[in-house]
């Protein structure tokens, strides 16, 4: 484990406004000021339910995004301008995508500072709006914000605060999107910094920060040098709490995986895949949004093959090609107009590969297994 701190923005306004004491905002501002990066890539809030990427070097814009919720199901890795030094706020799946993209020379990891944010999952905007109106009778327009805290779904509205245990919510089909439920990585250990709430003593406006790399050190140092941040070392107990929270969350995720993926094991696999993928209308969206796919217009999968295949060549090739690189980010499933559970399907294959080879995409820079030889040519 890297060095761990409890840290916050020195500027009282940023500390008050930003989530968890404004550390991330302050660090981004410091990175700009110190010239570590040319611009930062963050999430700009559109409303309570939706955010879009924002690439900026304007400190005021950075400040205005300080309380931007994490809940938007975006993958920022696709918006990184190549050849520019940027700091990016990353969930685990953004960070993993960045690493896979740099393996494929889409971006240069050297240029990128990954400010990792612990992630408990993201929410599809429309489903969440339905949740607040179906469950609490609220007009989505009256919602001031929502968050998940200590296993509870909390909605802040003009008329008061509303809450429901997440388990209940998700049993009813609301809550986080499926891929996030079974994503078992909550702390972005592959980023430069990992920032989150877990381990912060109750009532304290601060972020638990783990420094994971030299670049993480640089970022933290920039905060100190510019007097943007204040910090204290994290104690044993706080570190322990964070480890426990993390463990609990990934166990929870694995439980969801077992539950959701067992549905496939209960039926005939081939019929299941033929059936689900049979609805594909070949809009191409799943490829476009996939952050780890680096193929352009000459991609193999775009040669669809003949009509009348049980599964289109497009789908089959994508499934195979992503077997060693799908990071389970959920982007494909989000945009599929045929509602095919694409991430689940890709993950079924990817997780088999993981089990076979002990390799997980998006953690470090080693080559994807499909590009590597089999040692000794063993069959």
């Amino acid at each position: 484990m890297g060095k761990c701190y409890l840290a916050w923005a020195k500027d009282p306004e940023i500390r008050q406004k930003g989530g968890s004491g404004g550390f991330v905002t302050a660090t981004l501002l410091a990175a700009l000021k110190e010239g570590l990066v040319e611009r930062v890539l963050i999430v700009r809030r559109i409303d309570e339910f939706e955010g879009v990427p924002l690439l900026t070097d304007d400190p005021e814009e950075v400040k205005s995004c300080s309380s931007a919720h994490l809940a938007a199901p975006l993958n920022l890795s696709s918006y990184i301008p190549p050849g520019e030094r940027v700091a990016v706020t990353v969930k685990p799946c953004d960070a993993r995508a960045i690493i896979e993209r740099s393996k494929r020379r889409q971006i240069d990891l050297e240029d990128i500072y990954m400010v990792g944010l612990n992630c408990g999952g993201t929410f599809m905007p429309v489903r969440t709006m339905e949740a607040v109106s179906d469950l609490f009778g609220l007009d989505p327009g009256d919602v001031l914000g929502f968050e998940v805290s200590k296993g509870k779904f909390l909605v802040e509205a003009r008329s008061g605060t509303y809450t429901l245990p997440m388990v209940e919510l998700e049993r009813m089909g609301y809550g986080r999107r499926d891929p996030c439920r079974y994503c078992n990585i909550n702390i972005p250990v592959m980023a430069d910094l990992a920032c989150g709430d877990a381990g912060v003593p109750p009532g304290m406006r601060a972020t638990f920060v783990e420094i994971l790399t030299d670049k993480g050190d640089e970022l933290f140092e920039a905060g100190i040098k510019t007097s943007m941040i204040e910090f204290e070392e994290a104690g044993e107990e706080e570190i322990e709490t964070r480890v426990r929270t993390d463990r609990r969350m990934s166990e929870d995720a694995d439980m969801w995986w077992d539950e959701l993926s067992s549905m496939i094991d209960e039926v005939d696999h081939l019929s299941y895949y033929i059936n689900e993928l049979g609805r594909c209308i070949h809009c191409g969206s799943c490829k476009i949004v996939c952050p780890v796919c680096a193929c352009k217009d000459d991609a193999k999968c775009l040669d669809m093959g003949r009509e009348g295949y049980r599964i289109s060549l497009y789908n089959l090739i994508r499934l195979f090609h992503l077997m060693d690189s799908c990071i389970g980010c959920g982007q494909c499933e989000d945009v599929c107009p045929a509602d095919i559970p694409l991430t689940m399907i890709h993950q079924r294959f990817e997780r088999r590969m993981e089990k076979e080879l002990g390799y997980r995409p998006g953690f470090e820079m080693s080559k994807p297994p499909l590009q590597e030889p089999e040692p000794g040519g063993k069959v």
Binding site: D47, V52, L54, C283, D339
Partner: protein, 364 residues
């Protein structure tokens, strides 16, 4: 990287999306916040940037490039000279509500009664109380909750994938889904069902009549439409005569086309005495026009559309040029705000709100 919240001009569903602009470059991004489509798009929406990259028309008069004011002035002059009985205004439903209403007011100012949104003959033959059913469809959420869905002469997997997914969701919840070809079935049993069909210029009006009659006890009826804002055009009353018929009969000698798409009467257009086209995109039709008035690309327009569910959706742009050209031809007494207020009034709403189903068929 500027994210412009917009809607797809591809069909009557009007899927929400982002147009992402970086300098001259335009990309489409998925807008998961849209209650219409939750970010999902069909192939047309996915390829929209290519559609928007098509060449834009220049202002022309008699094939010569002129400045916009000249084209507008010339249009006003020639419309004045044309006989109003032999002049037609055709809007194909690819324009905003504001443009359509301005277009209608323009027709009125010249005393022109030949107006059409390509579906006049279907609308005229429908009794007044059923006209709302013809124009506005149903909330997609209600399709998901249906027990019985009847698809008549429509194959949503080809034409409307974003509708199809709602039908499939209903089916997964246990709904019965039936595909009917009325040519093969004796009578239509539509009681309690959500009925989905399609209406295009080529649809046999008898079929529409049959569905509307048999569908009196249906839960709801939804006629999908191939163009972006045919719903708005119908609600704004942009219908009267079947213009393509009249052109074919030679009864119309002067024609004003708003945002045309290539169609079956294209070959006849060059024989007209006067052809005026206002469009955001160069087409074969704009090429043969006597007067061409360019308007902004769809996503650049300020204004609204009504989608098939009855939502009044902002198109997302800031340019009023399309509406303003029409108002200038009219003589400049109205401005954009007047038209906007007019649209709210006719539609009976107090503004655009994507989260609200503002217009319904008025059925159960």
């Amino acid at each position: 990287m500027e994210f412009i919240q917009s809607v797809c001009p591809g069909c009557c569903i009007n899927c929400g999306l982002y147009i992402v602009r970086s300098g001259e470059e335009i990309k489409v991004d998925y807008r998961k916040r849209s209650p219409v489509n939750e970010g999902k798009l069909c192939k047309f929406g996915v390829d929209l940037s290519r559609y928007y990259a098509k060449e834009r028309p220049e202002p022309t008069v008699d094939g010569k490039e002129v400045d916009l004011e000249t084209a507008i002035g010339e249009a006003a002059e020639r419309l004045k000279m044309a006989s109003s009985a032999e002049t037609g205004f055709l809007c194909m439903g690819n324009s905003t509500n504001e443009e359509i209403l301005a277009f209608k007011r323009l027709a009125e100012s010249f005393g022109i009664e030949n107006i059409d949104c390509t579906l006049s003959k279907h609308i005229i033959s429908t009794p007044e109380d059923l006209k709302p059913t013809l124009s506005v469809g149903v909330p997609f959420k209600s399709i998901e909750e249906a027990d019985r869905i009847i698809l008549i002469s429509i194959n949503p997997s080809l034409q409307y994938p974003l509708l199809l997914r709602r039908v499939i969701r209903a089916e997964k919840k246990g709904a019965e889904v039936v595909m009917l070809n009325p040519a093969e079935s004796e009578s239509l049993e539509l009681e309690g069902a959500v009925v989905i069909s399609e209406i295009t210029q080529k649809t046999d009006p008898m079929l529409i009549k049959m569905i509307l009659e048999a569908g009196k006890d249906a839960r709801s009826i939804c006629f999908m439409k191939p163009h972006a804002n045919l719903t708005g055009a119908m609600l704004l009353g942009f219908y009267g005569v079947d213009i393509s018929e009249k052109v074919k009969l030679g009864e119309i000698r002067s024609l004003f086309l708003l945002d045309p798409v290539p169609g079956d009467m294209d070959d006849l257009l060059s024989d007209l005495d006067l052809l005026i086209v206002q469009a955001g995109m160069k087409t074969r039709v704009s090429e043969v026009a006597d007067i061409t008035i360019p308007s902004p690309r769809f996503f650049e327009r300020e204004g609204t559309v009504v989608n098939i569910e009855g939502r009044v959706l902002p198109v997302g742009g800031t340019s009023r040029a399309g509406v303003e050209s029409l108002l200038k031809i009219m003589g400049g007494e109205m401005d954009f705000e007047d038209v906007r207020r007019g649209v709210w009034e006719v539609l009976g709403v107090d503004g655009a709100n994507e989260d609200l189903i503002a217009i319904t068929q008025g059925r159960r």
